[in-house]
């Protein structure tokens, strides 16, 4: 590796999705973008500012970006109805910043209320000394447990911004307050530090997302890989001595991977509790009906719905499922009931 390349790497903005990467393994770079796979590390330069005016750094803070800035990101797809749909494809002349957490790819659809994607010019694909492309999968957390023992409370929702992350964080907070050693995990989505940091702020003992399982995004990944990623996160939680996990599943019930997981008998068997976040009573009724179609019923409803006593009453009447607000979820008495229902085994206050 030349000194110039070393300088180039050192001065680049390493995005949040690359936080697990061992930079000492970077030995070179190629321009075989046609071979780029999801998770491959890409050095790119900002060419034109669009929707994203800043990126999320691995340190956990934002950084403004300017044309000419060097950024290290991971090639990946993105599914975000509020923003973009993008594929894990990189054209040599230009690419799109699909997510500020550090996802580079090709935008194929855009919510009309937002700007064009910030444009990037890919410089190269980072390589190991043996010439192989460096991929996030190489840096997935190492585990020894099987991940099949820890009780899991899954959090689904009707859509982006329906309240899933708040529900996940607040339930993790309640469990921690009740004395449980808890893991707050994000099983699917696109790598970003917003949810991750919100989980961390609760004092959850383990916080991790699919990036820790080697993926910058789970969009368009095969179900087996998504399931294996979740299992890896659960094994990581078990290795750390966690007694219970709260697992957020991104986007709405009809999103590709979310729908696959919901319909997956193995995943259904693996979860011991289910929280459903929704915005209003109609969404609650539709979502619960869809879940029932797959043979599962949420234990509670939450989300924006819970802010309105009237909407909550409507939802309870329509579904028969109780509605809890975020303060209920963070209440140790309520969270403890979740833990007891899920069969969590008490060892000692964490």
């Amino acid at each position: 590796m030349t000194t110039a390349f070393e300088t180039q790497l050192a001065s680049a903005k390493w995005t949040f999705s690359t936080r697990r990467v061992d930079r000492t393994l970077v030995a070179g770079m190629d321009m075989a973008f046609e071979k780029a796979r999801p998770g491959d590390l890409i050095l790119a330069y900002v060419s034109e500012i669009g929707q994203h005016r800043r990126v999320q750094l691995e340190s956990g803070r934002h950084s403004d970006i300017y044309p000419g800035d060097a950024v290290i990101l991971a090639c990946g797809a993105r599914y975000a109805p509020d923003q973009f749909e993008g594929l894990a494809e990189i054209l040599p002349q230009s690419a799109d910043l699909l997510a500020g957490g550090g996802c580079i790819g090709r935008m194929v659809a855009r919510n009309e209320r937002i700007k064009q994607a910030t444009r990037l010019i890919p410089e190269g694909r980072l390589l190991r000394a043996d010439g192989a492309a460096l991929n996030l999968d190489d840096f997935a957390v190492r585990v020894s447990a099987r991940g099949d023992r820890i009780p899991v409370i899954a959090v689904f929702g009707t859509a982006m911004n329906s309240g899933k992350t708040v529900a996940t964080a607040q339930l993790a907070l309640g469990l921690r307050r009740a004395g449980w050693r808890v893991a707050a995990l994000k099983g699917t989505g696109t790598g970003a530090f917003g949810d991750f940091n919100e989980y961390r702020d609760t004092g959850a003992h383990v916080v991790a997302d699919f990036t820790d399982a080697g993926m910058v995004s789970t969009y368009r990944e095969p179900l087996e890989r998504v399931r294996a990623g979740i299992n890896r996160l659960l094994a990581h939680a078990e290795d750390a001595g966690c007694e219970i996990a709260v697992l957020e599943i991104a986007d709405g019930l009809f999103q590709r991977e979310t729908a696959q997981l919901l319909a997956d008998p193995a995943f259904q068997r693996r979860i011991s509790g289910l929280v459903f976040a929704c915005g209003d009573a109609v969404a609650a009724a539709g979502g619960v009906a869809e879940m029932r179609r797959h043979g599962v019923v949420p234990d509670v409803l939450t989300g924006m719905l819970s802010c309105s006593p009237m909407a909550s009453a409507e939802a309870l009447g329509a579904t028969g499922v109780p509605v809890l607000g975020k303060n209920d979820l963070s209440d140790p008495a309520e969270a403890n009931a979740f833990a007891l229902r899920s069969g969590a085994e008490w060892r000692s206050a964490a």
Binding site: R177, P322, E334, L340, A349
Partner: protein
């Protein structure tokens, strides 16, 4: 954590610790014996007289005798005008759990199961807290509670687990129902003075309560023990519960300690106390 150390005059050390909790600040006395033998801490909850400081005097000898850590929370009137029943006005259960979590940093055994004792209003808090967090309790000793949350549907919440219009009732009923099977598996000892039959102003009175739980603390203790036994049978198990009558005692906790040896009974790690053996 604010800490005030009392100069040791005997083998044990008494500290007064104040912690901030989500539910409000909570002070507590912690008695550490010179030589720790038992691994299970004992938590003692005062009643509405809030006599935690006086109870320290009585339980200090028990800490030494049993070689166990004894924790006496002090729900002060200024911060805890209501502490007996977890609910909208106050969440003493949260404060208690948070206290144990915090103490576990210094005293790891506080993170495991503890023995919980409560007198009068403290017994109300004790059994309700144990219903919510049964996994944190090893032995529950209830001394002369004024009334109980029966572990069945015979009375509406908060007197039982039946439906009620009380604020938040559905939430609380569901939480307690969730932990009920584990609660009914706890070792529970119910103590009451043979002369604790006064209907004093502190005793909650209503026709429904009188009819279904009894007219005084003595009768209500017996009703509660029967209710726990029946509920446990309904869950397919035999309850480990006993009623221990304290001969000649009224409602005064300190008198029951000095005259009937109650502190020794509730602090004894072996269950084969003479009183228990006599209880039948």
């Amino acid at each position: 954590m604010e800490l005030e150390l009392e100069t040791p005059t005997t083998g044990s050390t008494v500290e007064r610790i104040s912690i901030a909790t989500q539910a409000g600040p909570l002070a507590t006395f912690v008695i550490t014996p010179r030589r720790m033998v038992s691994s299970r801490p004992l938590v003692v909850l005062h009643g509405i007289s809030r006599n935690a400081r006086s109870l320290v005097r009585h339980f200090r000898a028990e800490a030494e005798h049993g070689g166990r850590l004894i924790v006496l929370p002090h729900f002060t009137a200024s911060h805890w005008p209501h502490f007996q029943r977890p609910g909208h006005p106050a969440r003493a259960d949260q404060a208690l759990v948070e206290l144990l979590n915090r103490l576990a940093i210094r005293f790891p055994d506080c993170g495991g199961r503890v023995d919980l004792v409560g007198h009068s209003g403290g017994a109300q808090l004790a059994h309700r807290t144990a219903m919510l967090y049964p996994q944190r309790i090893a032995r529950l000793s209830l001394v002369a509670a004024g009334w109980y949350c029966l572990p069945d549907m015979s009375m509406p919440y908060p007197y039982g687990l039946g439906e009620s219009n009380a604020r938040g009732a559905a939430l609380w009923i569901r939480r307690k129902q969730t932990g009920l099977a584990a609660y009914l598996g706890l070792k529970i000892r119910v103590y009451v003075g043979s002369r604790d039959t006064e209907r004093d102003p502190a005793l909650r009175v209503s026709s429904a309560l009188d009819d279904l739980q009894g007219r005084n603390r003595h009768d209500r203790a017996r009703t509660y023990v029967d209710a726990v036994r029946a509920a446990a049978l309904g869950h397919g198990r035999v309850a480990d519960i006993a009623l221990i009558e304290l001969p000649g005692c009224g409602h005064d906790f300190e008198l029951a300690i000095t005259e009937a040896g109650l502190a020794r009974m509730v602090a004894e790690t072996s269950d084969m106390t003479p009183a228990l053996a006599a209880a039948g």
